[in-house]
């Protein structure tokens, strides 16, 4: 998950090209993370110290960890922590970027720090992102102003992201950005959830994105937005909302879902209690629309 967030950040800053990002995202699965990258990611060493250890390795028959301890850059406990973390997925992107020479160690160090600052993430939040803890990531990226629905919106958004991973095999991510005031687009699929807390949910996007999601959910390639494609995208929202109801029921909040609806060429405005949240997928973006009142469509 961190790979998608950090990779997209590097792309937006023109630190890597789209081709390079695609390259490292593919490569990262087979990459062996070296201790230098680990030490940099954990903030135990800076890039200068890592480079110095690398230079020493050319002169001495010693491992990275041994030299770093000799030079006083790491202690034994830190080394053990780094070794046990060697298989963490998020580090493999960093290693792939270095291996492919798309970034230098110093650039990687700077970009990791800039990312944290630009996204206004605390060290703890950055760590949660690296661990892929979606429930905790959502509140760090989204700022719902409505306190009475804060938890329910955060929970719902996190569940949708998890189901995009689980049911669509997507790698969705959020951006730290000002949420749009309006959605005007080709398709809106929505479902009302009624009960103690009424919740109005929708997935919106252009035809290509809806086709893509529907195809992935059904496990077959749809080429036009016909009845079967509509059935697939609506069923995805239905399954997501069903799981949401079960989660809420486990917290003793009983809710009911209404039948799904699908609209073409609609506009919906953000207002008090209605949020339009871009979710970025490999092929583009879709929008989660979530509200505590019935959507006001134009």
């Amino acid at each position: 998950m961190f790979s998608q967030y950090f990779g997209n950040y590097l792309l937006n800053k023109n630190m890597v090209t789209a081709e390079q990002l695609k390259d490292v995202l593919t490569l990262q699965k087979s990459v062996h993370v070296k201790l230098g990258i680990l030490a940099l990611n954990f903030g135990c060493m800076n890039s200068g110290q890592v480079q110095e250890v690398h230079q020493q390795q050319m002169k001495q028959d010693k491992r990275f960890g041994e030299i770093a301890i000799d030079l006083g850059y790491l202690n034994e406990q830190q080394l053990q922590t780094l070794l046990s973390s060697q298989k963490q997925g998020h580090l493999q992107l960093s290693q792939a970027l270095i291996d492919q020479k798309y970034l230098t160690l110093a650039e990687l160090e700077n970009e990791l720090e800039s990312y944290k600052q630009d996204c206004q993430l605390t060290n703890d939040q950055l760590e949660l992102l690296k661990q892929g803890n979606i429930d905790k990531i959502v509140p760090a990226f989204l700022n719902f102003e409505d306190p009475s629905h804060l938890n329910i919106y955060n929970d719902y958004t996190a569940l949708l992201l998890k189901n995009m991973i689980r049911l669509l095999d997507e790698s969705p991510f959020l951006k730290k950005e000002t949420l749009p005031d309006k959605y005007s687009g080709q398709w809106l699929i929505c479902q009302d959830i009624q009960g103690e807390n009424n919740l109005y949910t929708g997935i919106a996007g252009d035809e290509d994105m809806i086709l893509n999601m529907a195809s992935k959910f059904a496990g077959e390639q749809f080429t036009e937005l016909d009845e079967m494609t509509k059935a697939s995208i609506t069923e995805f929202l239905n399954v997501n909302n069903g799981i949401f109801l079960v989660n809420m029921s486990n917290q003793n909040i009983e809710l009911q879902m209404n039948p799904l609806e699908i609209f073409q060429n609609v506009s919906i405005e953000r207002n008090n209690g209605t949020y339009i949240i871009p979710i970025y997928l490999a092929q583009g973006k879709v929008y989660l629309i979530i509200s505590n009142k019935k959507f006001c469509l134009e």
Partner: protein, 127 residues
Amino acid sequence: MSSKQFKVLLCDDSMLVRKQLKEIITDAGVKTIFEASNGQEALLIIEEHKPDVMFLDIVMPIMNGIETLKEIKKNNFKIKTIMISSSGTQTHLKNALEEGAHDFIQKPWKETQITTILDRIRQEGGF
């Protein structure tokens, strides 16, 4: 009795769900499969064709799954109903079982859940 002699009704407003269920049930050897997109359509099919087993969604337009179960009970139709819904809350489960549902599967299902239930119904010999 072999599952090939089952008559199965699929009642779900999603065309995709009906298609996917139909594929699984056909592969399991069932030859007679009816489809309905809401409870009202399902009741007409039950009355006319007397299917043995029904897979029934809960959230549907016109007549939902729980209302359909009540009508089946009221009319004393003999059909084993398996609820298949995305919303497997305790309340839905309780309501469905109280109204006579035979089993409950939460979406997204696994193919083996469907075939296991069909096998169990066949073994129970309730036809």
